[in-house]
Symmetry: C2
DNA sequence: CTGAAAGCGCTAACAC
DNA sequence: GTGTTAGCGCTTTCAG
């Protein structure tokens, strides 16, 4: 250590002991006499000894660090989830290494490889919107690397997963719009193969079905970059607006798409005529104009549950074979943007 | 490597070479014959060999990783800065390890210690709002650890620093409010000892002075937790509102304080009577009601400049003694919140 | 041009 | 109860 030159060797030398004795004393091994222990511990304290985690990692193939892979930290959902992750990890003595895929499959892979080669003890992953091929994760997982997926999860890997109830969230949002009297509800969402996309679409469809509204494929728009590319969303809105089946409301999936789309609608001054809601975890929804009706996920808790499960796998003595998918409830917060100001509210029954 | 068992030793064995030869071949040492090199390289490629960065770090006391310490990633300023950092680091082959202090000095210290013990090659630091004692960083820096400070920088350490022109940003914002006819301008800001606080306060004062408005201490409110604690900001607004010297405008420093304060004002329905502006890098300012006049920092660029300087220090052959503080311009984006709707605009000359 | 050996900091058999 | 030694994966003298 360039900046922390104290090693176990220095202690050994100073105290006229062997490095192994010191090592054992430091970790409180039962074989060491209380006096020696005391001696070593006090001296270590005094010279401010810190074990070198790199040497430890090399030796033990573990690092007490866990790796997190998300698409981008600027997304409030993810920064909240990361805070949840940290809140637990910190207390259990794990360090958290955060990486961003920026919705790129390649970047995601590079990050994971780096994390693995750094001997992280486990991985917390939310897939990038580009990631269709998950064989890479599968291999890692089969080799025994503890992985917990959250938010955007793969079907094909058997491990713990933690998600919001995306189905219900989408169902609630859509039904709310229906209750408001909207009938032509567009849905702008992410890549078709993402788990969250499928679930939300299912919720949307079921709500329509429940209320006897025929599903119309042309009202579904996919932004494959999850809103990272503004033009994709603009295009979606434009096509919808110009189509013969012009929507009277829009329901967006995903933080980024929701925000971008909301901005576009506002730009086009379509607020008055268009009901709007979407998934977002922003804390600023009440400051908008109109204030934004939003489906909110318990991101912090999702992060917490995910890391708890991960640590459980990491610290489990025997290999885990029974995995569960934990689902947490979403919360529809109704504000102005989804209120139907034009039409009279149509009574729909629950 | 549990998940990547291929080591240099395996290659050596398979090719009937010594590990040192393989090592040298892999790194293209001039001493190795072209044939051997080719042999090794191709085989390595074939079995997908990846050097173990942990072993490397242990040996070389460097990691090709740099550590970042910010108060919280949920702050748009920081997530933008981090994206700037990553954009450069990634291309230069460095990995970025992000940590959050959550405005706690202790947490900041723990994070830095961890990063250092992981042999990061350098540190990019924006101080927590609690951090008054920087002797810890000073020691590290004196021992030779490359550190670049950005945003919240310490006076007492001689190294590269990168900041926005906080003075000018505050000056512009304040003067803008003055041009709008506001005279009793409150300033809600962070801990008094933070560099950004001082600079912004200076800008605020100078703008007042320039326009012959007397400075009034009671209009300055410090939120020592940088807006992390909502009550602090509420308290500040309340005291201002109830004071004998009620402000006609508020200028906030810092992303978090600005947002929280804006929310409070809106809650209290003070929007109409109170001019408002503040430092924030949110991309959503135009969606608010009223739309938010903001001082925006070039966060992405600040991150880029910071990492460039850091890498320059890291890779410099001789110790650097000449350090500079780079200052980037802020941008005042005028929207509705700062427009004086009650009083007639008073002509003030530039 | 290539190999043997030491060592980075630490742990864990295996002695004694 | 404590010391000796080997080894984690890699680089780097030092020999040849």
């Amino acid at each position: 250590m360039k900046f922390d030159t104290v090693t176990i060797k220095d202690i050994a030398k100073a105290l006229n002991l062997s490095t192994s004795t010191v090592s054992r004393a430091l970790r409180g091994s039962y074989e060491i006499s209380p006096e020696t222990k005391k001696l070593v511990l006090e001296y270590a304290e005094q010279i401010n000894y810190r074990p070198n985690p790199i040497a430890l990692s090399l030796k033990e193939r573990r690092s007490r660090a866990i790796g997190v892979v998300v698409s981008e930290i600027a997304n409030t959902y993810f920064s909240q989830a990361i805070n949840g992750i940290e809140s637990i990890a910190y207390n259990k003595g794990y360090h958290v290494i955060i990486t961003q895929s920026h919705e790129s499959q390649e970047r995601e892979k590079v990050n994971v490889q780096h994390l693995v080669s750094r001997s992280v003890d486990g991985l917390l992953v939310s897939l990038s919107s580009e990631t269709s091929d998950i064989s890479f994760f599968k291999e890692l997982h089969e080799k025994g690397l503890p992985i917990v997926f959250f938010d955007r999860i793969p079907d094909e890997i058997e491990t713990h997963k933690v998600v919001a109830n995306n189905y219900q969230g989408a169902f609630d949002a859509t039904e709310h719009l229906i209750f408001q009297g909207f009938r032509n509800i567009a849905h702008i969402t992410s890549s078709a193969f993402l788990s969250i996309t499928k679930e939300r679409l299912r919720g949307y469809k079921n709500a329509l079905e429940k209320h006897g509204i025929p599903f119309n494929e042309t009202l579904i728009k996919h932004c494959n970059h999850g809103g990272m590319i503004v033009e994709e969303v603009e295009e979606a809105v434009n096509v919808l607006q110009k189509g013969e089946n012009k929507p009277d409301a829009i329901f967006c999936a995903g933080d980024r798409i929701t925000m971008v789309c909301f901005g576009i609608i506002k730009e086009l001054k379509l607020n008055k005529e268009l009901g709007f809601t979407g998934f977002t975890n922003t804390n600023l929804a009440h400051l908008f104009s109109p204030t934004l009706t939003a489906v909110r996920q318990p991101a912090f808790e999702i992060g917490q549950v995910a890391i708890e499960h991960l640590i459980q796998i990491i610290e489990s003595k025997r290999p885990i074979t029974k995995f569960e998918t934990k689902m947490l409830d979403t919360d529809l917060v109704v504000r102005e943007s989804s209120i139907n100001v034009n039409k009279e509210k149509i009574k729909a029954k629950l």
